[in-house]
Symmetry: C2
Subunit: 518 residues, 2 copies
């Protein structure tokens, strides 16, 4: 059968070409810009190469690719569980907000109304040349609609109908949705015009209960960041200047990226009665008096993906904490003969089943179109926490090579009991990457009382704990002269004797954390 | 302490007032319009009274309330699991689509471009009188953006960059998101301008594989509808007229509501190479030839909530299938003395723990601000599948009253082994409401070959299996004269000898299912 023969030869040739191409790809995958060379470029390349997200055709918007979205789903599911434990329920409110709603809360409109996507028409029609569509001028809306930049206004307009008595309170709603803020300079995950987030909006009968809730949700965020994302955070309260538009207090968690910059990773706002008053949400309290409802709102967004990437990853690619990794373990066989592969297949099948029964996600990759070297590079790039490699010799010796992604250390261990070994290792990795990030963060927090010293050192990043006189003027001057901002008045810092403001020389009211930020 | 005394008296008076009010509410809850009086009004009232959803301030949009959203979350989580079992992964694509994209696929634009929300500006500014905001005329977009009515165009524009070789295929992406179609006449869940849905978009190397996928997803939908929602469906393929804009074939599941009307509950489209060609998505196939990728898309939406409500519910309110009920069991204590309550509390706590360990969701409602009668009415309205009531006498006798929501039957059974009893009962209810809906549906499917008879009978609803000559003219005439449409060519119907078209008298090409539809 000569045709089959030539077909075989041709196929072999193709396979070789593909192998070669894939091998080059393996090297190219590794060809990530080094963090020390260009941190910002390293980040952009990593997001693209690890197939987390990419720029969309529409300015400033992103497409979240399946691997990136799988991580987001893990974030969502864990946060959602935590919210529900505190009594929160999910709901869904409309995407579009009447323009007039935005101006009902005066401070809110100042903070938000500027850069919004505005819907003005509701119909297209075929153009005159019949080869495209144009906006139908007859279908102009009476009142323009805004794509939600955040939903306080439309939600409080709805709560008005739900709240009559203190018995209807508290209301603890959250929604997972998309929002839109027309950003001028965008970066994948960190700042995009459209992004995904959750926004919680609660209504309470008393000021105390609302303040407690705002702080409770900050704790939920901090706990999640540290224990699931392995991202250490500083908790604190924002200065007046940095507050959310319409809030009386904004609580924040601030994480330190590997370039020493701060990334605001979640905020929780105590909104007082501002929205209650703006939307006429009154209720009969226990004393039979009419009162306005007290509000909080709190949110985290796909920005957390940026925090995750920039806290742990290295020059080889992503490093994912095991608790958030969509895939925790990968097994790669190394074989020459079909018999060898069959034996490894059987053993790997066993290991997979045992790991899965422990709730560990695992993939066995015996794809014969890719070389082990390519697979190793690809799984490193994607940040899979643990890689097992099983070769023919391993099968003889009853061993397996274990590589942990966080340290890139390899070890040869016994196949016997490998599942328990992997389970323990995943916990160790989770702990190690948190401790590593925390050690880095702590090494880059400086107490500083001298403005000249501050101005010099801030250029290299880091968090600075400095005495502040509490004025917006000082705050503005620091920002203007150094681009750094007051991130927060950190919780747990001794504020009994804050000292002298390093800029104005006036008595300080508190010590604040200052940093350059994303 | 006279003040305390008067406070007590006043409080007692208040409680009585509240009890009375709540009791009236209980009656009022029941005061649902009867289906037989006005089916449409019954539906609208039920959606509102059971707190599933309500009209939003923005025309045609809805707010999905926590209870409605909890049901939607159950729908999502089960469907998502089923999708992933078939290899589907989730991703996220942008909300906004450049206007020009819509005209790239000629048939698609005809079907969709008409009624869309159009974003023309990206900034607001404070008005001249400083008391509101206006659209900033300087912030006009060069090209208008459309809020996605469906995402084929933007997704295929992205796939262009992902697909080079047959090795990159298939791509099996799904997204859970909001979409917007500017509907003129809207009804909660059934037809709203904004709605939530999932849209799957797959790309394949061969026609066969794409067609298989389109049919596979229809089966996933049908299986979900029947086994989880307990909604029997007819599976079939749409006529050319009723196809999705841009599809070569549209597969559908059609459910029958209690008024005999059809509700299209999910569709799966085989799109051929239409979008591949429109967006230049080519790949190198196994024979080293360039070819266009083959496409499918498939979706279900919050419309399923409408199907759920209208298939099972009755004049007392919602009836939920146990597998989709956010709360499956409620326990209500009936007591006079604190001692009685304490004893019931303890017993109920035990039952709750045991039920939860079986994966059953249960709530113990010992709220002393609401009477048992009010609770009964409320849980009936909300469709909780099983209600247990435990009174002081029950405690003495070791019994409990069990009410099943589907039949409203009450039974007194032993407290001993109540958990196993409830577990079995939930399965029975799931099965019973499916069988009931199926019996109703089957009793209202008619074979019909006579157009006069058809015109008369169709006014009372039902599905009609009729011979059709395959022409759009006949189809249009039926629609014009009866408002009924061809729902599909049903699968599994003997088509060997379809007979004579009842309208035109010409030879029929097939038997089709005709019904009035939502």
């Amino acid at each position: 059968m000569p045709i089959r023969f030539w077909y075989f030869i041709f196929n072999s040739y193709l396979c070789t070409r593909i192998h070669k191409k894939k091998y080059e790809m393996a090297k190219e995958l590794k060809n990530l810009t080094k963090r020390s060379d260009n941190y910002s470029q390293w980040y952009n390349e990593l997001v693209m190469k690890a197939e987390l997200a990419e720029q969309a055709e529409v300015r400033g918007c992103m497409c979240i690719r399946p691997y990136g979205y799988a991580i987001w789903e893990k974030i969502q599911s864990e946060l959602d569980r935590k919210f529900k434990e505190t009594g929160v329920v999910n709901a869904y409110f409309p995407l579009l907000i009447p323009k007039s709603f935005l101006s009902k809360e005066a401070e809110h409109v100042e903070g938000f109304a500027k850069e919004c996507a505005v819907v003005t028409h509701y119909r297209l029609k075929t153009n005159d040349t019949h080869d495209g569509v144009v906006v139908d001028p007859d279908a102009k809306l009476e009142e323009e609609l805004i794509i939600r930049p955040t939903s306080e206004t439309i939600i409080w307009n709805t709560y008005k109908n739900w709240i009559k008595s203190y018995r209807d309170l508290p209301i603890l709603c959250n929604q997972w949705c998309n929002v839109m803020r027309w950003e001028m300079r965008t970066r994948l995950f960190l700042r995009t015009s459209e992004f995904l987030w959750q926004e919680g909006h609660t209504a309470h009968a008393t000021r105390e209960e609302a303040e407690d809730r705002a702080r409770m949700m900050l704790k939920v965020y901090a706990d999640f960041a540290e224990n699931f994302m392995a991202v250490p955070v500083v908790q604190g309260v924002k200065s007046e200047t940095e507050r959310f538009a319409g809030a009386l207090d904004t609580y924040t968690i601030e994480a330190m990226m590997q370039d020493g910059k701060a990334l605001q990773s979640g905020t929780s706002h105590f909104l007082g009665q501002n929205f209650g008053k703006a939307f006429g949400v009154t209720f009969l309290n226990k004393d039979q008096q009419q009162d306005y409802a007290w509000a909080t709102s709190w949110g985290v967004s796909t920005r957390l993906m940026g925090a995750l990437i920039m806290t742990h990853s290295d020059d080889n690619g992503l490093v994912l904490p095991p608790r958030l990794a969509p895939l925790q373990v990968v097994i790669v066989p190394i074989w020459k003969t079909d018999e060898q592969l069959a034996a490894i297949d059987a053993k790997a099948g066993e290991i997979c089943a045992n790991l899965r029964s422990k709730g560990i996600t695992v993939k066995y990759d015996n794809d014969d179109q890719k070389r082990p070297g390519f697979k190793f590079a690809d799984y490193e790039l994607k940040g899979i926490p643990v890689r097992l490699a099983i070769g023919a010799r391993d099968m003889e010796n009853g061993t397996v090579e274990v590589m942990r992604r966080d340290t890139l250390e390899k070890e040869t261990v016994s196949l016997e009991g490998i599942e328990a070994y992997v389970e323990t290792l995943l916990d160790k990795i989770q702990e190690n990457i948190f401790e590593k990030a925390k050690a880095f963060r702590d090494a880059h927090i400086y107490e500083c009382n001298d403005y000249e010293e501050f101005k010099e050192k801030i250029q290299n990043g880091g968090f600075f704990l400095c005495p502040w006189d509490g004025t917006a003027e000082t705050e503005a001057r620091i920002k203007e002269e150094t681009q750094a901002t007051i991130r927060c008045v950190p919780f747990g810092t001794d504020q009994t004797n804050p000292g002298t403001d390093m800029v104005s020389g006036k008595p300080a009211t508190c010590k604040v954390l200052i940093a350059k930020a994303y």
